[in-house]
């Protein structure tokens, strides 16, 4: 037991009597854990999210990531952690604000407060050692922060985390996260055995004693909470009807690559894409695949193209700056019709931009990044489940259409954790083993079907198929062509394939009424937040619906017809656009969100947009404000 018992500000503390703690029963609850970088709040949050999902709660986790590995201690920008939103029903986004916050120091807490990350009546559990710290400055900072926070309606409960941890460890800095995990386990009544398993799994590469010590700390937190806290939170569990698995987006991409029968992942380290290869690095060889860490981003694309050319199924995974470097090779794969899957886990840009943070700014680069006409398929999963399945689809399209398929996810999906129905694996998802039978006489290397541009490729090892692929403009024999019609024809054949693919697609479904005042169009990871905002807007009587696009090149069919049923169409995106009303910005010079440009060009509809680049996922609340501002008559 601690000497400093919890104090309560503003709100009266329910007395902790024999009746036990007050149970707050809610359909959903959002918890944030924030610390200095390196104190393990993320690990704590990940385990909490995973265990909640495994127990059958809906869950969505988002990492709060500082850009540096070791930012200064006790600094707002250095706040690192995790937000976990759990629910009785599936959770589709990170919500607006946290109902419960656990902070390892008051500066991280203050930073979250300033970012409006806390619900107005949030419960806050904060490490109290700073209040009595030897350093005058630190004590002053504590007092100042508490003055600010004390003016809010938060219920602040100081917790002697370090003091408690010192009873079982010499280095509480390394163990506080487990103490916190234990507190959360008690508060939310989590399955303690699942938590122990998760801790063991997390420390499996270290000595057994490490896991044991961490479990001990977790149990200490659990007991402390039980003895000292007067509330618990119950988010009822309804077991989902189908078996579920819990993955983050990058794991889902990696497993999708395995399910697609990929042989090679060629990559170069880049945030936030690298963890795809971390995970694959652990498991891929068990499937006969390899992760090749190339000398640079360009080589990673080249090695993938080489392997694919040789009949193996290869992909490369990167983020914005890496995508820029791969541009020339992507053009080569397009020109030579070598199948290639490129996974782009988007981050903020341009340049180094926001390396750890979410943005949707690579759309036009994906579509048009290559000089010359380089038609390719571009897709974007909206959920972690779709991350998995889209890699499988991408592989098939790349092979069938002999083209580049680019899959755009983002930092939000990459590190977020969500449960989803366990995929029923199908052997047909995997590439057939390379066919090395002789090539029948007369078949050309690009035996383009004149209508569709489709052709079968042959690979080294097939007798009779010898030819030289070239990035130069060429005819169906892969001979370098110098006449004007050779280039015209090659371009047509490569472009035609996209049209053929487009004819296989169905028009996307509208969320909400199929006609109304405003249609919000989104793509990628924003789907859940947009739909939640649309629900709230409709509840307020606004005639709003939404549409979410998965295939961005070629665009899904029927858009113009769908748009015609709404008075106004606008995109919601996490990329930059000018705002009318800002200096110099006029309707003529205003630069729009990337999907908005695309839809305008495609449909000739006057598509508006509401976009933001906060370096974090959009909140339903923000989108709702955007919707209200864009209702016909208003603008963003």
């Amino acid at each position: 037991m601690s000497s400093s018992s919890p104090v309560v500000t503003k709100k009266a503390r329910a007395s902790k009597d024999a009746a036990g703690p007050v149970v707050i029963r809610v359909p959903e609850h959002t918890v944030e854990i924030v610390s200095d970088s390196g104190e393990g709040a993320q690990k704590c949050g990940q385990i909490f999210g995973q265990v909640s999902a495994k127990m059958g709660n809906g869950a969505w986790t988002v990492e709060i990531i500082p850009a540096e590995i070791q930012p200064p201690a006790r600094s707002g920008p250095g706040a690192s952690g995790n937000r976990i939103r759990i629910g009785t029903q599936p959770v589709t986004n990170w919500g607006d604000a946290a109902n419960l916050v656990v902070a390892f120091n008051e500066q991280a807490l203050l930073a979250r407060h300033e970012l409006e990350a806390l619900h107005e009546d949030a419960i806050v559990l904060v490490e109290n050692r700073w209040a009595t710290h030897d350093d005058d400055d630190i004590r002053r900072e504590w007092t100042t922060a508490m003055e600010v926070l004390g003016k809010q309606d938060y219920r602040i409960i100081p917790v002697p985390m370090e003091e408690q941890c010192l009873t079982v460890t010499d280095n509480p800095r390394r163990g506080k996260n487990m103490f916190v995990l234990g507190m959360l386990a008690w508060i939310y009544d989590r399955d303690i055995e699942l938590i122990r398993d998760a801790i063991r799994q997390s420390f499996r590469k270290k000595a057994e004693a490490v896991a044991r010590a961490n479990i001990e700390l977790m149990e200490l937190g659990y007991r402390w909470a039980e003895a000292n806290l007067d509330f618990r939170v119950e988010v009822p569990i309804e077991k989902p009807p189908t078996p579920m698995i819990v993955l983050n987006g990058n794991q889902a991409l990696a497993m999708g690559a395995v399910a697609a029968g990929m042989d090679l992942c060629a990559m170069y380290p880049i945030t936030p894409a690298t963890s795809v290869s971390h995970y694959l690095g652990e498991i891929f060889e068990d499937f006969g695949g390899i992760v090749h860490q190339a000398e640079d981003e360009i080589a990673a694309a080249g090695v993938a193209i080489g392997a694919s050319y040789a009949g193996k199924v290869a992909f490369t995974v990167t983020s914005g700056p890496g995508l820029a470097l791969k541009t020339e090779f992507i053009g080569l794969a397009t020109m030579t019709e070598v199948p290639l899957v490129v996974l782009d886990v988007q981050r903020g840009g341009p340049s180094t931009g926001l390396p750890t943070k979410v943005e949707q700014s690579d759309l036009l680069a994906a579509l048009y990044g290559q000089p010359g006409d380089a038609p390719k398929v571009v897709m974007a999963p909206a959920t972690i489940e779709e991350c998995f399945h889209m890699v499988v689809t991408a592989r098939r399209i790349a092979e069938l259409f002999r083209c580049v398929v680019m899959v755009l996810t983002d930092a939000n999906l990459a590190t977020g954790v969500q449960p989803f129905p366990r995929p029923q694996l199908d052997p047909r998802w995997q590439a057939a083993p390379p066919d090395l039978r002789p090539v029948p006489e007369g078949v050309k290397p690009y035996d383009w079907d004149p209508a569709s541009g489709l052709s079968r490729r042959f690979i080294p090892g097939q007798p009779g198929g010898m030819h030289t692929l070239t990035g130069l403009s060429h005819d169906e024999y892969s001979h370098v062509g110098y006449s004007p019609d050779v280039h015209e024809r090659g371009c047509a054949m490569r472009s035609r394939k996209l049209a053929v693919f487009q004819t296989t697609l169905k028009p996307p479904g509208v969320y909400g009424d199929t006609k109304g005042d405003l249609l919000v169009v989104g793509w990628g990871s924003t789907k859940g937040a947009i739909e939640e905002a649309v629900d709230r807007a409709r509840a307020r009587g606004l005639r709003v619906s939404s549409l979410h696009l998965r295939i961005l090149s070629p665009l899904e069919p029927g858009l113009k017809e769908i748009f015609s049923r709404f008075r106004k169409v606008a995109t919601v995106e996490i990329n930059y656009s000018d705002r009318l009303g800002d200096p110099y910005i006029t309707r003529e010079n205003r630069r729009l969100g990337q999907l908005a440009w695309l839809l305008r060009a495609h449909t000739l509809v006057d598509v508006d947009c509401w976009t933001r680049v906060p370096g974090q996922p959009l909140r339903p609340k923000g989108i709702l404000e955007g919707i209200e501002s864009m209702m016909p008559g208003g603008h963003a």
Partner: protein, 317 residues
């Protein structure tokens, strides 16, 4: 260089087919008359014929430049890629298809300038392939620009008052990279030596780097003129484990015994000298090869599914 052919369902080893030089010939070369590339192509065709490499299991990858037209002039599989990036493509091919015979053909700008990063790392990967660097000391295809190997003072369109910098020494650079396993130099005007060198490179298991001094009558005609006329300006590195071209013994009298196992001496010999040294500077068969380190058994679709289902268990709700 025969490797186990686990990838192939069919087995070519009891192949009864045979191929002549003509079978390997491709399109009519469009290099300038007198260009050294013609002789190198002929030597490569001779190698293919001598080794009877099945054309369908032979892959030539190239970058961009005069020399990179190479694959078009052969009837094997070929990949004429992008400038500087032949090696990543070739690495990808060999890494996942060790049953194929892989050649990479590059120019000096290709390999030592825009593709320099790939070159260094390809040496370190030591993937089994023959890398031919056709060095004419200039950018030919784009019409006369200074390359990293252009001699200092040699004028070009980009440096009309003469190349500003000391040239880069591709041999020393390659020999300086960890895990280098085969480094040799030959010259296009001695077809017998070119053949013998690339044959040794082909037989070496690992990344065989061969710099071929190549005449470009169009832009660097003066570069090797003297050496071509005067065999005394050439020094042959000879050894029982080296390159053997007996027909050259009478003409090239400067012979120096060098054991290709001796890396220090190889590095010393690669330094600038008043004669052009040809032969094998270094060879070590024992160096680790990346494609062997990374070799994986092929798994069936069902095996993958079973294993992935096991993996799912860890993440099951």
């Amino acid at each position: 260089m025969e490797t186990s052919c686990s990838f192939l369902s069919c087995d070519h080893d009891d192949d009864e087919r045979s191929w002549t030089m003509e079978d390997y010939a491709g399109a009519i070369p469009r290099w300038c008359p007198g260009c050294g590339d013609h002789a190198i192509l002929a030597a490569v065709e001779r190698l293919l014929e001598t080794e009877q490499l099945p054309p369908e299991r032979t892959v030539f990858v190239s970058g961009i430049g005069c020399s990179s037209r190479f694959p078009h002039y052969l009837t094997t599989y070929g990949f004429h890629g992008i400038h500087g990036r032949a090696l990543p493509i070739a690495t990808g091919v060999k890494l996942r298809r060790p049953d194929l015979h892989v050649f990479a053909v590059m120019g000096d700008g290709d390999c030592c300038s825009i593709g320099a990063g790939h070159w260094i790392h390809a040496v370190r990967y030591n993937v089994d392939m023959v890398a031919l660097m056709l060095d004419n000391g200039i950018y030919g295809l784009t019409k006369n620009q200074t390359s990293p190997t252009t001699p200092q003072g040699h004028p070009s369109n980009t440096q009309p008052k003469g190349s500003h910098l000391m040239p880069l020494n591709p041999l020393s650079a390659t020999l300086g990279v960890s895990n280098a396993s085969f480094v040799a130099q030959t010259a296009d005007w001695m077809p017998a030596h070119v053949y013998a060198t690339i044959a040794a490179a082909f037989r070496h298991r690992g990344f065989s780097f061969v710099r071929i001094l190549q005449r470009c009558p169009q832009y660097t005609d003066d570069l090797f003129q003297e050496a071509v006329r005067n065999p005394n300006l050439v020094e042959m590195l000879v050894h029982p484990d080296g390159v053997d071209a007996p027909e050259l013994e009478k003409i090239f009298k400067n012979r120096r015994v060098h054991d290709p196992k001796d890396l220090d001496m190889g590095r010393h010999l690669a330094e600038p000298f008043d004669r052009i040294r040809l032969g094998i500077f270094f060879r070590d068969e024992s160096r680790q090869r990346y494609e062997e380190l990374r070799h994986q058994r092929i798994h069936t679709a069902q095996e993958r599914i079973d294993r992935l289902n096991e993996e799912f268990e860890k993440y099951a709700v």
